[in-house]
């Protein structure tokens, strides 16, 4: 099953990079978001236990628990990626206000 997770990570990463390369900055920001998700998914795939039970001490008797380490990593990563996303969107807004455009190619033109 983890192999499927890993493959999905690759596919999502590809889609994310494609979005990232768009000249539309909104789509670029979305690309980032897809990359965040892909990475989180990879962390899960990298978890060592294919758990049957949630990671609680009281559950350890009832079967294999899922890997708590990757969960802790992903948990904080989700919140941080939200913060990053918010900053990206704010930058987008600044670009719209200052350059009167959210097209990367047009903004590049402005510099010259």
């Amino acid at each position: 099953m983890t192999i499927l997770f890993a493959m999905t990570t690759g596919i999502l990463f590809g889609i994310g990079v494609f979005q990232l390369l768009r000249r539309d900055l909104v789509k670029s920001a979305m690309g980032f978001y897809i990359l965040f998700t892909a990475v989180n998914l990879f962390f899960f795939a990298a978890g060592v236990f294919d758990g049957e039970r949630p990671a609680y001490v009281s559950e350890t008797d009832r079967g294999q628990i899922s890997d708590p380490l990757v969960q802790a990593l992903v948990l904080t990563a989700i919140v941080i990626s939200f913060g990053t996303y918010a900053v990206l969107l704010a930058l987008l807004n600044v670009s719209s206000q200052r350059f009167k455009s959210i097209d990367l190619d047009e903004i590049n033109q402005l510099q010259k």
């Binding site: 192999i3 889609i15 897809i34 998700t37 899960f44 978890g47 802790a72 992903v74 948990l75 900053v87």
Partner: protein, 941 residues
């Protein structure tokens, strides 16, 4: 106690640099205090003399970074004492002079601070007992020299000289570091004490070591660059842009002697070999000759002084090269003698510059009448520099010639020494006779226009400027006459073999040669009109340096041509490079035995596959949806699908956060899209869908390659784990109950085992929120008015929705959040979940009531204050245990606490609470900022 010798200059430098110091400490008092401090240090150092004489050395050590062999230690022996006395003694006079030298208080303050920091570093170089510590101080002197040469940073020459000196001495410093590290490893210790103790038993320990050549060359490179040896000499004339007191102190008396110091210091370890003797003798003699020969062609007073300094440094290096300590006595006397007379000359050059406005010797004459005191002083030090009995310079020259006579190939060496000494005498006459005593400018030398077109109004130097030079000149005389009582004892405790040292040992070969030098020099000086016309040497070191710098620039330009300014191209290059590395690193693992079988054991696995496909499909949909809003919603679907995967894992805590953040993220981008200018969005959508097919194909190719690379990396990472041992995860599972006292292992990892990590993470998140805030609305929020909002409520704010929001949503959200905090230890959810839930509640307010109304009604919810309070609680919670001798974050376990309503209060609860507050504040801040209508848009609308 010995540490104080180093600490005092640095602390005083800090004190001087304080902005308030000049307000209560007048310049005169500062000057006298500085002189007193350095004189005090001088006397203090002298008190160590008896101990050093009896025991050989004084050591003090304090372990600094033991893992790096870095000990803060002091090693004070005879050699260190001589140099430290020069630093403090001459420093005292130079700083006295500097107090009267600068025109403004600002310059005085800056100079004094830099000067004392330099003094501390220089004392550090000579006193440090650890090789690496020595290097740190060594670099300190280079950096402060940079600051002092560039003191008048508005002048191009000052900036150029400063950077040139820094690049040359800094480059040499790197070589020195490598050499010292090899030496430390080879000797088995980084402490001078240990190294010298080992060397006593095994004198050839280093010189027979396999690394000897490397150590010797590297350290010599460091010493040669610092001591301005040929061909690195050219930075020193360039350094003459420094103020005169800096030149006097750094570039004649102390810093440039650091190279000589390290060679003398390492003589027991590295000396007495053919390589040592050949290298030091050839480089030193070459420098001695070239420096002296170039000196007499200079027209700048300080230029002459710089080149004669180079020459003398060459002599010192050559003396250090001689076998069996033969040159050490002469080198030490030379160091002291030269420091005294040359620093005086530099100070006097500053006086002349002050008084006449020029340092060009073609413009100067007859200053004797205008400033007789300066003239007498310069006669004194001039006699010392020329080597006339009974000045200390005479002894220095005598011992130098004596050493040359007994050296191998004595004829050649003696010839070089004598010739260079003749040039030095010429330089002295130029400095003294021409400047002070000649009656008029000679007609044979064409009068050249300088920057000073108008004649400078002469103003006599104040007495304060002359005290320092006069004391130093007197010292040259006193130390010469009192040689046997004042200098000899110091050299006796330094040179490890017996020697004779008399002021006048009788008429011998050295004395005869010395007299010939004086006669020859005077003759050559009188004939100066003939050789002054000779052309200058065409190739200068600075030209070579400039050429190298230009080539570096050209390479940089070449690299710049690859930069076309398109961010996407950079991104492609960066990503492609990463992928190449990833594939290259993983290719062998992928070909290995990866378990490709996919077991589907039940409906749960089918559901997982379905969700994986859904996430891929919705991610692709975000690409294909033309308009932004559906694309954003598609992303939301992707997030929910992933959250579902987390839930099935099963990872309830993560799934909960993912669901909540996904909701919040979707709201965020929808609001953001609403906020963005509609025209801009329309424009970019059209542009995007009219992009050339070729560009899209290229992007598809890159994206596929990267996706493939990451996929292969992920597969090889996941598929090659062997027997799936998980010591870390297992450890967490086993120790959560006992260490953290909670049931939820994930919560325990987040809030207890890796609490420091989490602490930093909530700081990062708060910073992201503040970043959004500063980007979008710092100005408008500062003008925030708490008055009643004038705008109408949004359409969505019907009485019913308003009631629901006010009564239900936020209170319940906060209640649920609180429950999450309280039960974080045993049930899904934690501080992050709680924060996001609370944040969602606030967001609903903003959506329903709009910005202005929410701001007015929810004044009690102040996001920046929430962030502050949250972080404050987190830090207090983390730091408090330190007061009770417990580790960071190690609060007592609250297991003794009565268990009310299954709360199971745990050690992590306070931290979870602070996470909640911080995240709530940050999310509220982000939402408030984004929803707030921007002022510029209103203006343009």
């Amino acid at each position: 106690m010995e540490f104080a010798i180093l600490a005092v200059p640095f602390l005083f430098a800090l004190f001087v640099a304080l902005p308030t110091t000049p307000k209560f400490l007048k310049r005169e008092y500062l000057t006298w205090l500085s002189t007193a401090i350095l004189s005090g240090l001088f006397v203090w150092l002298l008190t160590y003399y008896p101990t050093i004489r009896d025991q050989g050395y004084v050591v003090a050590a304090w372990e600094w970074v033991p893992a790096l062999n870095l000990t803060f230690s002091i090693y004070l022996d005879g050699l260190a004492l001589i140099f430290a006395l020069i630093v403090t003694g001459i420093g005292a006079m130079v700083i006295l002079y500097a107090g009267y030298y600068f025109e403004t208080d600002e310059q005085t303050q800056r100079f004094f601070a830099l000067f004392f920091a330099f003094t501390g570093s220089m004392l550090g170089v000579v006193l440090s007992g650890n090789l690496l510590l020595l290097f740190i101080f060594w670099e300190g002197t280079s950096l402060l020299s940079f600051a002092l040469i560039g003191f008048k940073g508005k002048l191009e020459s000052a900036r150029f000289g400063a950077s040139q000196a820094l690049i040359i001495t800094g480059g040499g410093g790197l070589a020195l570091l490598a050499g010292l590290m090899l030496l430390g490893v080879a000797a088995g210790s980084f402490e001078w004490v240990d190294i010298f103790a080992t060397l006593k038993n095994d004198q050839t320990l280093i010189s027979d070591h396999a690394w000897y050549t490397a150590i010797m060359i590297l350290i010599a490179l460091g010493a040669f660059t610092k001591s301005a040896q040929y061909p690195f000499h050219f930075w020193l004339p360039g350094a003459m842009a420094a103020p005169s007191p800096a030149s006097a102190f750094l570039h004649s008396a102390t810093m440039v002697k650091a190279g000589v110091f390290i060679l003398l210091r390492l003589y027991p370890a590295l000396g007495n070999t053919d390589l040592w003797e050949t290298t030091l003798l050839s480089v030193g003699l070459l420098t001695l000759f070239v420096g002296a020969a170039l000196a007499i062609k200079q027209v700048d007073l300080k230029g002459i002084l710089a080149y004669t300094t180079i020459s003398m440094l060459g002599a010192l290096v050559a003396l250090t090269g001689l076998d069996n300590y033969a040159g050490m006595k002469a080198a030490l006397i030379g160091v002291v003698g030269h420091a005294l007379y040359k620093s005086t000359f530099f100070l006097l050059a500053g006086v002349i510059d002050h008084a006449t406005g020029t340092r060009d010797i073609r413009q100067l004459y007859g200053l004797y009448r205008k400033m007789p005191l300066a003239a007498y002083t310069s006669i004194g030090v001039g006699l010392s520099m020329a080597g006339v009995i009974p000045f200390l310079g005479f002894v220095a020259k005598e011992t130098l010639i004596e050493a040359a006579l007994s050296a191998p190939q004595s004829l050649l060496i003696t010839a070089i020494v004598v010739l260079s000494s003749i040039f030095t005498v010429v330089a002295v006459l130029l400095l003294v006779w021409d400047v002070y005593f000649r009656r008029s400018l000679p007609a044979s030398i064409p009068h050249q226009d300088t920057a000073h077109d108008e004649p400078h109004h002469f103003h006599a130097p104040s007495l304060g400027l002359l005290v320092g030079p006069m004391v130093l000149a007197a010292a040259s005389l006193i130390l010469g006459i009192g040689l046997e009582w004042l200098i000899k004892p110091l050299i006796e405790i330094t040179v490890p073999k017996s020697f004779k040292l008399l002021l006048f040992p009788g008429i011998n070969t050295a004395f005869i040669l010395s007299t010939l030098v004086l006669i020859g020099g005077t003759a050559l000086f009188l004939a100066r009109s003939t050789w002054l016309r000779l052309p200058d040497v065409p190739l200068r070191g600075t030209d070579v340096y400039l050429w190298v710098i230009r080539q570096v620039d050209r390479i940089a330009d070449l690299l710049l041509t690859s930069q076309n300014g398109k961010l996407r191209h950079y991104l492609i290059v960066i990503l492609a490079a990463i992928i190449l590395f990833m594939v290259a690193a993983n290719v062998e693992y992928i070909s290995g035995d990866i378990d490709w079988t996919i077991e589907i054991t039940g409906s749960e696995d089918l559901l997982k596959i379905g969700l994986l496909l859904l996430s891929i499909a919705s991610a692709s949909a975000s690409v294909f949806f033309k308009r932004h809003l559906p694309a954003a919603l598609a992303l939301g679907v992707m997030g929910y699908a992933v959250a579902g995967l987390f839930l099935l894992q099963p990872a309830p805590d993560v799934a909960l956060v993912q669901f909540l953040v996904e909701t919040l993220g979707t709201v965020l981008i929808v609001i953001m899209l609403y906020r963005l200018n509609r025209q801009h969005r329309q424009q970019v959508i059209e542009n995007l869908w009219n992009t050339s097919r070729l560009g899209i194909l290229r992007d598809i190719f890159i994206a596929s390659a990267i996706g493939l690379g990451v996929g292969l990396f992920a597969i090889s990472a996941v598929g090659n784990r062997g027997d799936r041992e998980a010591p870390v995860a297992q450890w967490y599972a086993e120790n959560t109950a006992s260490e953290a006292g909670v049931d939820d292992i994930v919560s325990a990892v987040v809030a207890d085992f890796r609490a420091t990590d989490t602490l930093i993470e909530i700081m990062v998140f708060s910073m992201a929120a503040l970043g959004v805030f500063t980007l979008l609305s710092l100005k408008s929020l500062a003008e925030k008015s708490p008055e009643k909002p004038t705008e109408a409520l949004p359409i969505i704010a019907t009485p019913l929705t308003r009631l629901i929001v006010v009564v239900d949503v936020l209170p319940f959200a906060l209640l649920i959040a609180l429950a999450h905090v309280l039960y974080a230890g045993d049930l899904p959810g934690d501080g992050f979940t709680a924060g996001v839930i609370g944040g969602l509640g606030v967001t609903v307010w903003y959506v329903v009531f709009g910005y202005a109304h929410t701001q007015a009604r929810l004044q009690w919810l102040n996001p920046p204050r929430l962030i502050t309070v949250g972080l404050l609680i987190a830090f207090v919670n983390a730091l408090l245990p330190l007061l009770f001798d417990r580790p960071f974050f190690a609060l007592t376990k609250w297991q003794a606490f009565p268990d009310i309503a299954n709360l199971a209060p745990s050690s992590t609860m306070i931290f979870e609470f602070s996470i909640f507050i911080t995240v709530l504040g940050a999310i509220s801040l982000i939402m408030a900022t984004i929803i707030q209508p921007s002022s510029t848009e209103e203006a343009s609308a």
